[in-house]
Amino acid sequence: MAPSEDRPWPARRKALLSDEHRPESGWRRWRLHHLHPAAVSLLFTAAGLLWLLVVDPILAAGFHGDGAKRLFEQWPNVLVTLTGGILLYGLLQARANSAARARQAQELRLSEFMERMFDVAFLKDRQGRYVLLNPAGARLACRSLSECLNRDDLALFPADMARKMMEDDRRVIASGELLSCEDTFTFQGDTRTFLSTKWPCRDSAGAIVGIIGIARDITVEKRAEQRPQRARADLEARVRERTVQLLTINENLERQIAARTRAECALRDSEERFRQLAEHIREVFWVHGIEQERPLYVSPAYEDIWGRPIHGLHDRPQDWIEAVHPDDRARVQAAHVAKRHSGHFDEEYRIVRPDGTVRWIWDRGFPILDEAGHTYRIAGLAEDITRRKLAEDQLRRQQVELARMSRLSLAVELASNLAHELNQPLAAIVAYTQACLALLHQANTDPRVLTGPLEEVVKQGLRAGEIIRHLRELVHKHPAVQSALDLNALVRSVVHYAQLEVRQAGVALRLELADGLPPALADDIQIQLVVLYLIRNALEAIGEENGEPREVILHTAPLDADRVQVTVRDTGQGLSPEVRDRLFQPFFTTKAGGMGLGLSVSRSIVESQGGQLWATSNPDGGASFHFSLPIHAPS
């Protein structure tokens, strides 16, 4: 079915689709060039002659009263008018011919286009019979073009497809509007999709005489389109799913953000509070960054205490350590290095202010951990403790003075004891000697009677020497302040000197000394004074009682791995609660002649040696005084 076989399209079109049948809007029908050239020319000529021969004379007569003459004078104008009409005709005829030729050429091109195009183009009459159909349409119907014409769709296509097409045709005729639709049909054993556009064909009066349409087989495109469409649907489903997820996440996120905002507000509040606190406290608050190796924050009190500007510290972090007193600097520097690992810092040191004054600082820091538990910052407080330090110094000086005075008084008492011991043999020596002298003065004295008294003199002299040797031991033998100390030997030695007092008090003194007691580290003479004092204290406590037994027990024992303990236990009246509370206060005493310094000084002595002194009540009456001392660990 070659297109060249017959070409009915232009001819047919001329018959049916002439100008008169072309649907045009109203105003276009009245355009001048649509009139026949002859009619236009005749009209022009008639109008000109009418003006010249009728209207003009009437108007002239009305104004001038001279109509006859004017008519006569009009003939050249009539001639011109006639000539103009002839020329106009010629002109219009020529133009009409050229327009017809152009239209013919256009129609020829259109018909060629119609025949070659792959889309189906058709013109149906109102009954649905094909009046015009291009070769693509005939190919679709699998018939020759002539077989198709004057037949309707039912005769050419499968029934369901034909019915759909005719239904569309009826809708176009009923509505008078353009209809465009996509239809899918099972056609020739294949599912095919057509995009068809139809509109009504009207005659010159506007009445619908048929239907014009174009249809395109878009099956391939449709299929091509459907793949991405499925992909898109798939994608959309996934997107929807994802959207739901995202929404959920978003909600969570919003909640989190809200929470965080609240937290941030709270944080901001607390930060504000913190800032106000940090800026107004008298201590220097600081935050040190481990990684940054410099202070991240230092509160304004730094300027007051250090007397140096804060910005100087930010520019030169070593400014801080340079302010430390040279004597303390090495120690503080070492602690500063150590704090990077431990996060902890606790040092007392002096600083020298630019004006040369010295201040004491108590500086302590603690680690700030990140979520992983690593120290990433150290926060700390540095406090000016100068006043406290001075007060402490003064207190320490006073304590030292008190201890010195009390040691003096203890020494005096000790000396008093020793003096008594020493004076006994001296008194004996003097008395023996004077007795001998008295005997010698008597005339009849046998010198041999002097032998006994003189031997006694020698004995008592030696006894006095022995006492002096003990005294020297007690006072001078131990020049080292702290040394390894055999507490058992010390207790025995002190008991020796207290023996007289013990005897006088009518008290039994018992020693319970632990075997293999490790040596203590302490000052010998000072601890002797403490033991002597505690024994004397125990004797005095018993002396005021009349009950039995009258006993003092001296007990030594290891206290724990690092300490040894000495206990002086008496059977005195014990400690009432109010006495126990004030026992160690200076100038507190229950004794008539006491100064109330012994226990407080003893405690000062023991504490200065790194030990402790305390008192307990015995379950069976009386009191026990204990003191501990560190064990001497031979290095």
Binding site: S416, H420, L426, A428, Q434, A435, K459
Partner: protein, 204 residues
């Protein structure tokens, strides 16, 4: 022998006791030594004339305790305290309690001997006065109640007339009582009578 003034030496230190005892004996004094206050009290010599030489600090009953006990029993034997070391509060306590003296070891033998002799003299004086007091008291005990009433008024310096009026008796009766009092008390004159009464009123 028992009336010979004796130095009672009490010291817990054997050497001191021995040496001082020897010194005192060499100086011609009678000495008895004791190792403790208890030993002295048990010896039953507290009433004998003499003096005590005591160490202040002694086990058991101390020197001060012994002093207190002897005074409580009315014994007025002078006590010389010895001390190994000058102990002022203790010395004050001892002296307030009536100690004769307080000497510090070691001491010059002469010093101790001088003090002991003073103490012995004081003791014999004391004992003599006591004897007079005892005699006067014995005489006073002989008076009848009425004579005692008359004596009290005479000692106050009242006239016989006033005494007679107060007691509601006659003047001649007062004069008789007064004469018997003078006889019984062995008083020669009014001044003798007054001295006797003063002796009796003396604190022992």
């Amino acid at each position: 022998m028992s009336d010979t003034p004796t130095v009672f030496l009490i010291d817990d230190d054997r050497a001191v006791r021995d040496a001082v005892g020897l010194l005192l004996q060499a100086s011609g004094l009678a000495v008895e030594t004791f190792a403790s206050a208890a030993e002295f009290l048990d010896a039953g010599v507290v009433h004998r004339p003499g003096c005590l030489v005591l160490d202040v600090r002694m086990p058991g009953l101390s020197g001060l305790d012994l002093q207190k006990e002897l005074r409580a029993k009315g014994h007025r034997t002078p006590i010389i305290f010895m001390t190994g070391h000058g102990d002022v509060p203790m010395a004050i306590r001892a002296m307030k309690a009536g100690a004769f003296d307080f000497i510090e070891k070691p001491f010059q033998g002469q010093t101790l001997l001088a003090r002991i002799r003073e103490a012995l003299a004081s003791d014999s004086r004391q004992r003599r006065r006591q004897a007079c007091r005892d005699k006067a008291a014995a005489r006073l005990a002989l008076l009848s109640p009425r004579e005692r009433e008359v004596l009290e008024r005479v000692a106050e310096g009242q006239y016989n007339k006033v005494i007679a009026a107060e007691l509601g008796i006659s003047l001649s009766t007062v004069e008789i009582h007064r004469k018997r009092v003078m006889e019984k008390l062995q008083a020669e004159s009014l001044s003798d009578l007054i001295r006797l009464l003063a002796l009796l009123n003396e604190q022992p």
